[in-house]
Point group: C2
Chain length 104, copies 2
DNA sequence: CCAATAATTCGATAAATATCGAAATATAGA
DNA sequence: TCTATATTTCGATATTTATCGAATTATTGG
Protein backbone atom coordinates (compact mmCIF):
# COMPACT_ATOMS: atom_id res chain seq x y z
CA UNK A 1 0.00 0.00 0.00
CA UNK A 2 1.37 3.40 -0.98
CA UNK A 3 1.58 6.21 1.50
CA UNK A 4 -0.82 8.28 -0.61
CA UNK A 5 -3.48 5.59 -0.32
CA UNK A 6 -2.74 5.22 3.38
CA UNK A 7 -3.29 8.94 3.94
CA UNK A 8 -6.56 8.79 2.07
CA UNK A 9 -7.75 5.80 4.09
CA UNK A 10 -6.73 7.34 7.42
CA UNK A 11 -8.44 10.57 6.45
CA UNK A 12 -11.57 8.70 5.51
CA UNK A 13 -11.76 7.11 8.97
CA UNK A 14 -10.76 10.28 10.83
CA UNK A 15 -14.27 11.66 11.00
CA UNK A 16 -16.96 10.96 13.54
CA UNK A 17 -19.73 9.98 11.14
CA UNK A 18 -17.53 8.05 8.74
CA UNK A 19 -15.91 6.05 11.54
CA UNK A 20 -19.40 5.22 12.81
CA UNK A 21 -20.47 4.15 9.33
CA UNK A 22 -17.42 2.00 8.82
CA UNK A 23 -17.92 0.30 12.18
CA UNK A 24 -21.52 -0.45 11.25
CA UNK A 25 -20.40 -1.92 7.95
CA UNK A 26 -17.77 -4.06 9.67
CA UNK A 27 -20.46 -5.36 12.02
CA UNK A 28 -22.79 -5.98 9.11
CA UNK A 29 -20.19 -8.12 7.39
CA UNK A 30 -20.15 -8.97 3.68
CA UNK A 31 -23.91 -8.45 3.34
CA UNK A 32 -23.43 -4.75 3.99
CA UNK A 33 -26.12 -2.14 4.47
CA UNK A 34 -28.07 0.16 2.13
CA UNK A 35 -27.21 3.87 2.13
CA UNK A 36 -30.60 4.73 3.59
CA UNK A 37 -30.11 2.49 6.60
CA UNK A 38 -26.73 4.08 7.30
CA UNK A 39 -28.24 7.51 6.88
CA UNK A 40 -30.93 6.72 9.42
CA UNK A 41 -28.62 4.93 11.85
CA UNK A 42 -26.14 7.79 11.98
CA UNK A 43 -28.80 10.48 11.86
CA UNK A 44 -27.64 12.43 8.83
CA UNK A 45 -29.60 13.60 5.79
CA UNK A 46 -29.18 11.42 2.72
CA UNK A 47 -27.08 13.97 0.88
CA UNK A 48 -24.60 14.27 3.72
CA UNK A 49 -24.34 10.51 4.01
CA UNK A 50 -23.76 10.27 0.30
CA UNK A 51 -20.83 12.66 0.67
CA UNK A 52 -19.26 10.54 3.41
CA UNK A 53 -19.86 7.28 1.57
CA UNK A 54 -18.11 8.76 -1.44
CA UNK A 55 -15.08 9.55 0.72
CA UNK A 56 -14.96 6.02 2.10
CA UNK A 57 -15.44 4.62 -1.37
CA UNK A 58 -12.75 6.82 -2.88
CA UNK A 59 -10.42 5.66 -0.12
CA UNK A 60 -11.17 2.08 -1.14
CA UNK A 61 -12.46 1.14 2.29
CA UNK A 62 -15.96 0.26 1.15
CA UNK A 63 -17.51 -1.39 -1.89
CA UNK A 64 -20.96 -0.82 -3.29
CA UNK A 65 -23.47 -2.76 -5.31
CA UNK A 66 -26.94 -1.98 -6.47
CA UNK A 67 -29.85 -4.08 -5.28
CA UNK A 68 -33.08 -2.83 -6.72
CA UNK A 69 -33.52 0.79 -5.78
CA UNK A 70 -31.00 0.55 -2.97
CA UNK A 71 -27.26 0.78 -3.10
CA UNK A 72 -25.66 -1.57 -0.64
CA UNK A 73 -22.35 -0.59 0.91
CA UNK A 74 -20.01 -3.07 2.53
CA UNK A 75 -16.63 -2.87 4.24
CA UNK A 76 -13.64 -3.86 2.15
CA UNK A 77 -11.78 -6.06 4.59
CA UNK A 78 -8.82 -6.54 2.26
CA UNK A 79 -8.28 -2.78 2.13
CA UNK A 80 -8.52 -2.52 5.90
CA UNK A 81 -6.10 -5.40 6.15
CA UNK A 82 -3.64 -3.59 3.90
CA UNK A 83 -3.97 -0.43 5.97
CA UNK A 84 -3.31 -2.31 9.20
CA UNK A 85 -0.34 -4.02 7.60
CA UNK A 86 1.13 -0.68 6.55
CA UNK A 87 0.65 0.79 10.00
CA UNK A 88 2.19 -2.25 11.66
CA UNK A 89 5.14 -2.14 9.32
CA UNK A 90 5.78 1.59 9.22
CA UNK A 91 4.37 3.03 12.41
CA UNK A 92 5.04 0.37 15.01
CA UNK A 93 8.77 -0.04 14.69
CA UNK A 94 8.59 -3.32 12.81
CA UNK A 95 7.31 -5.16 15.88
CA UNK A 96 3.52 -5.42 15.84
CA UNK A 97 1.86 -2.82 18.01
CA UNK A 98 -0.98 -5.14 18.80
CA UNK A 99 0.33 -7.65 21.27
CA UNK A 100 0.39 -11.33 20.51
CA UNK A 101 -2.32 -12.00 23.08
CA UNK A 102 -4.72 -9.65 21.32
CA UNK A 103 -3.75 -11.06 17.98
CA UNK A 104 -3.51 -14.81 18.34
CA UNK B 1 -9.33 4.21 23.74
CA UNK B 2 -12.36 6.40 23.08
CA UNK B 3 -13.60 7.03 19.59
CA UNK B 4 -12.92 10.75 19.98
CA UNK B 5 -9.25 10.06 20.67
CA UNK B 6 -9.15 7.58 17.82
CA UNK B 7 -10.48 10.18 15.40
CA UNK B 8 -7.90 12.68 16.58
CA UNK B 9 -5.09 10.15 16.18
CA UNK B 10 -6.23 9.05 12.73
CA UNK B 11 -6.55 12.67 11.67
CA UNK B 12 -3.07 13.42 12.93
CA UNK B 13 -1.61 10.66 10.76
CA UNK B 14 -3.79 11.45 7.73
CA UNK B 15 -1.46 14.10 6.38
CA UNK B 16 1.56 13.69 4.15
CA UNK B 17 4.06 15.58 6.27
CA UNK B 18 2.80 14.33 9.61
CA UNK B 19 2.85 10.70 8.48
CA UNK B 20 6.42 11.24 7.29
CA UNK B 21 7.36 12.78 10.63
CA UNK B 22 5.78 9.98 12.60
CA UNK B 23 7.55 7.36 10.53
CA UNK B 24 10.86 9.11 11.14
CA UNK B 25 10.16 9.16 14.87
CA UNK B 26 9.25 5.47 14.87
CA UNK B 27 12.53 4.73 13.11
CA UNK B 28 14.42 6.92 15.56
CA UNK B 29 13.01 4.98 18.49
CA UNK B 30 12.86 6.24 22.08
CA UNK B 31 15.76 8.67 21.53
CA UNK B 32 13.57 10.69 19.20
CA UNK B 33 14.64 13.63 17.05
CA UNK B 34 14.77 17.40 17.59
CA UNK B 35 12.19 19.58 15.85
CA UNK B 36 14.86 21.16 13.66
CA UNK B 37 16.02 17.81 12.30
CA UNK B 38 12.43 16.89 11.43
CA UNK B 39 11.92 20.26 9.83
CA UNK B 40 14.98 19.77 7.64
CA UNK B 41 14.27 16.12 6.85
CA UNK B 42 10.74 16.83 5.68
CA UNK B 43 11.62 20.13 4.01
CA UNK B 44 9.21 22.44 5.78
CA UNK B 45 9.84 25.77 7.48
CA UNK B 46 10.14 25.58 11.25
CA UNK B 47 6.80 27.25 11.89
CA UNK B 48 4.94 24.78 9.70
CA UNK B 49 6.67 21.86 11.35
CA UNK B 50 5.75 23.27 14.74
CA UNK B 51 2.11 23.29 13.67
CA UNK B 52 2.25 19.63 12.64
CA UNK B 53 4.12 18.58 15.75
CA UNK B 54 1.46 20.26 17.85
CA UNK B 55 -1.19 18.21 16.06
CA UNK B 56 0.67 14.95 16.68
CA UNK B 57 1.28 15.95 20.27
CA UNK B 58 -2.33 16.92 20.86
CA UNK B 59 -3.34 13.55 19.44
CA UNK B 60 -1.05 11.91 22.00
CA UNK B 61 1.03 10.17 19.35
CA UNK B 62 4.29 11.88 20.24
CA UNK B 63 5.98 13.04 23.38
CA UNK B 64 8.44 15.87 23.78
CA UNK B 65 11.27 16.80 26.10
CA UNK B 66 13.66 19.69 26.16
CA UNK B 67 17.36 19.06 25.76
CA UNK B 68 19.29 22.28 25.89
CA UNK B 69 18.00 24.55 23.17
CA UNK B 70 16.34 21.72 21.29
CA UNK B 71 13.02 20.08 21.86
CA UNK B 72 13.20 16.38 21.20
CA UNK B 73 10.11 14.64 19.89
CA UNK B 74 9.61 10.90 20.11
CA UNK B 75 6.90 8.46 19.06
CA UNK B 76 4.53 7.31 21.78
CA UNK B 77 4.41 3.61 21.10
CA UNK B 78 1.81 2.95 23.76
CA UNK B 79 -0.59 5.38 22.08
CA UNK B 80 0.05 3.79 18.69
CA UNK B 81 -0.52 0.41 20.28
CA UNK B 82 -3.85 1.58 21.67
CA UNK B 83 -4.86 2.93 18.26
CA UNK B 84 -4.00 -0.35 16.56
CA UNK B 85 -5.91 -2.26 19.22
CA UNK B 86 -9.00 -0.11 18.67
CA UNK B 87 -8.82 -0.58 14.93
CA UNK B 88 -8.35 -4.31 15.25
CA UNK B 89 -11.26 -4.56 17.65
CA UNK B 90 -13.70 -2.21 15.94
CA UNK B 91 -12.78 -2.08 12.29
CA UNK B 92 -11.63 -5.57 11.50
CA UNK B 93 -14.65 -7.58 12.52
CA UNK B 94 -13.09 -8.86 15.74
CA UNK B 95 -10.70 -11.06 13.81
CA UNK B 96 -7.34 -9.35 13.35
CA UNK B 97 -6.94 -7.72 9.97
CA UNK B 98 -3.23 -8.33 10.03
CA UNK B 99 -2.82 -11.97 9.21
CA UNK B 100 -1.22 -14.35 11.66
CA UNK B 101 1.85 -14.68 9.46
CA UNK B 102 2.52 -10.96 9.54
CA UNK B 103 1.76 -10.81 13.23
CA UNK B 104 3.30 -13.86 14.85
C1' DC C 1 -46.26 5.06 -18.85
C1' DC C 2 -46.45 7.31 -14.20
C1' DA C 3 -46.02 7.90 -9.47
C1' DA C 4 -43.24 6.63 -5.62
C1' DT C 5 -38.86 5.37 -3.62
C1' DA C 6 -33.65 5.42 -3.09
C1' DA C 7 -29.53 7.77 -3.95
C1' DT C 8 -26.55 11.06 -5.90
C1' DT C 9 -25.19 15.57 -7.68
C1' DC C 10 -25.36 20.52 -7.37
C1' DG C 11 -25.02 25.16 -5.09
C1' DA C 12 -24.20 27.71 -1.35
C1' DT C 13 -22.10 28.41 3.05
C1' DA C 14 -19.71 27.66 7.42
C1' DA C 15 -15.83 25.67 9.63
C1' DA C 16 -11.44 23.49 9.97
C1' DT C 17 -6.68 22.84 8.02
C1' DA C 18 -2.23 23.95 5.95
C1' DT C 19 1.01 27.28 4.75
C1' DC C 20 4.43 30.88 5.48
C1' DG C 21 7.09 34.96 7.22
C1' DA C 22 7.66 37.88 11.05
C1' DA C 23 7.74 38.45 15.89
C1' DA C 24 8.22 36.48 20.46
C1' DT C 25 10.19 33.10 23.91
C1' DA C 26 13.69 30.26 25.98
C1' DT C 27 18.31 28.43 26.40
C1' DA C 28 23.35 28.26 25.93
C1' DG C 29 27.87 30.10 25.44
C1' DA C 30 31.40 33.93 25.04
C1' DT D 1 25.03 40.47 30.05
C1' DC D 2 24.76 40.13 25.15
C1' DT D 3 24.36 37.41 21.08
C1' DA D 4 23.33 33.44 18.55
C1' DT D 5 20.49 29.29 18.19
C1' DA D 6 16.15 26.47 18.53
C1' DT D 7 11.44 26.57 18.64
C1' DT D 8 6.92 28.35 19.17
C1' DT D 9 3.23 31.76 18.61
C1' DC D 10 0.88 35.16 15.85
C1' DG D 11 -1.50 37.03 11.83
C1' DA D 12 -2.85 36.54 7.27
C1' DT D 13 -4.37 33.75 3.49
C1' DA D 14 -5.52 29.81 0.50
C1' DT D 15 -7.40 25.35 0.45
C1' DT D 16 -10.06 21.62 1.92
C1' DT D 17 -13.92 19.65 4.45
C1' DA D 18 -18.61 19.22 6.27
C1' DT D 19 -23.25 20.48 6.06
C1' DC D 20 -27.88 20.92 4.15
C1' DG D 21 -31.92 21.60 0.97
C1' DA D 22 -33.25 21.47 -3.73
C1' DA D 23 -32.86 19.39 -8.09
C1' DT D 24 -31.55 15.28 -10.77
C1' DT D 25 -30.96 10.31 -11.94
C1' DA D 26 -32.22 5.45 -11.61
C1' DT D 27 -35.35 1.73 -10.50
C1' DT D 28 -39.59 -0.54 -9.17
C1' DG D 29 -44.50 -1.55 -9.05
C1' DG D 30 -49.20 -0.45 -10.38
Amino acid sequence: MESHAVIRALGALAQEHRLAVFRLLVQAGPDGLPAGALSEAVGLPASSMSFHLAQLSHAGLVGQRRQGRSIIYSADFAAMNALMAYMTENCCGGAPCVTATACC
